[in-house]
Symmetry: C2
Subunit: 244 residues, 2 copies
DNA sequence: CGCAAGCATAGTGTATACAATTTCCGAGCT
DNA sequence: AGCTCGGAAATTGTATACACTATGCTTGCG
């Protein structure tokens, strides 16, 4: 079961695709997003090189960029691993995204042309359709596409780029901490409501809607118990400088 | 005049410092900040390698990271150059920083312990001192240190990291677009006022003060005329695909 | 049976060689 | 003079070799 994504990639190579560090970054990012590369997965340079048919030089560049993108963890002399953000970081990432995405949609309200608005509404309809026919992966894909598009459309491109990053990071932690019980984290009507605010040029309403949307998403996660880790630290960490 | 920073670096190497990509990143970043490496400066890999006494492998990693940090521009098969953000991007960077730094100080208001507060006030006094004795470089250094410290102290470390990035980027464009006429862009009393708000636990006042501070800073820049570039494009660019 | 030391394996860090590409300059033509 | 067409120099892209570090397993001892 763990070999499938490798086969995908190698098929693409056989098909004659140009391979560069950008492709590796994209593939790994997407595989992480879709949970085909779960957090903690080892990413040895030679292995990646064999998979993509390139040498370690190219892989190394890709890994460096993935590290900058907060997708993987790279520590000296150790294998790169898919990042697994802590619960604290998850909360902070969501808070940051609420701030940034709220500002972006506020800036966007009333500043979309007809074509852009209709493209967004089409995506929203695709999302609803996918949900109604129970195709959760497709629904997630379309939902992500909406937010991603908002980031692209941001009049402030600096904020837009930051939002792109935050969308990726929140997606990763959603996949990580999603309650197994919950089949879907589809929040009925949120996206259509947002698009209404954008159409009607109501920046503060748009900010509110996206804020509530993200808060609701966060509330669907299983972020309760800190588990043993923190307790161990509290119990055993009486004197700080004893080990080394 | 262009050799001085190289000598600095080589002296450091002779002194036995460990060189790694992190050191190169730091050195280049600092040199860009202090305008010893003005925007547009070429950064060939072999040259940097000779300067720092390492091979291109290490330099390349550093350059990749600097690209991710928006400090340099790297385009395929071309020499890396110090980035020179456009006026539009400058405006957008400032807007992004107002948003993020405003949130950070709002979160920080009333949540600083005595030690942290006094450290910030000490920095603020150093800034005033430097200004009064006319030492502008030192004043900038201390001012930067205050903002940088705020980013470090941010309870939300995701926002803190984003703020660190934005401080660097705004500093670069300040250096780029500073009106030559203005000797100093010291905004009397802004920092002490901010620290008061933090001490008195007034988040919204703190957000307001930092927002005004950054707006005032932005207003000191020379961002008016778009110069000939845009005009040339408008006048000569009648048909897009003629050159190549 | 548990445990620690040591060796084999796996993996990263760095330097270097060679290929491919761009850039710059000069010669030659109009 | 101006313009274009080489061609050499400079520079990046990629692969590979070797050294160093970490990891894991096995062996030997208590």
């Amino acid at each position: 079961m763990s070999k499938t994504w490798k086969e995908d990639v190698q098929a693409a190579i056989r098909a004659g695709e140009r391979i560069s560090d950008q492709h590796i970054v994209d593939k790994v990012r997407h595989a992480v997003l879709t949970q085909r590369l779960p957090p903690g997965t080892r990413l040895p340079e030679v292995t990646l090189g064999e998979i993509f048919g390139v040498s370690r030089s190219v892989v190394r560049k890709a890994l460096t960029r993935l590290t900058a993108n907060h997708v993987i963890d790279q520590r000296p002399n150790q294998v790169a691993r898919v990042r697994s953000p802590s619960i604290d970081e998850t909360l902070e990432t969501f808070a940051a995204r609420r701030l940034v995405e709220g500002e972006v949609v506020a800036l966007l309200a009333g500043h979309l042309d007809e074509e852009q608005r209709q493209a967004l509404e089409a995506l929203s309809r695709l999302e609803v359709d996918a949900h109604q026919r129970g195709d959760e992966p497709a629904r997630i894909e379309h939902s992500l596409a909406i937010h991603h598009r908002l980031a692209e459309l941001s009049p402030n491109r600096v904020l837009g780029a930051m939002l792109t990053d935050l969308i990726l990071r929140t997606s990763i932690v959603i996949a990580l901490y999603k309650r197994p019980s919950l089949a879907s984290c589809f929040l009925e009507g949120d996206h259509p409501r947002l698009l209404e605010c954008l159409r009607d040029a109501e920046p503060e309403a748009a900010r509110q809607v996206i804020g509530d949307h993200l808060q609701a998403l966060e509330n669907l996660l299983d972020l309760g118990p800190r588990e043993a880790e923190a307790d161990l630290m509290a119990i055993l960490g009486q004197s700080r400088a004893m080990g080394a």
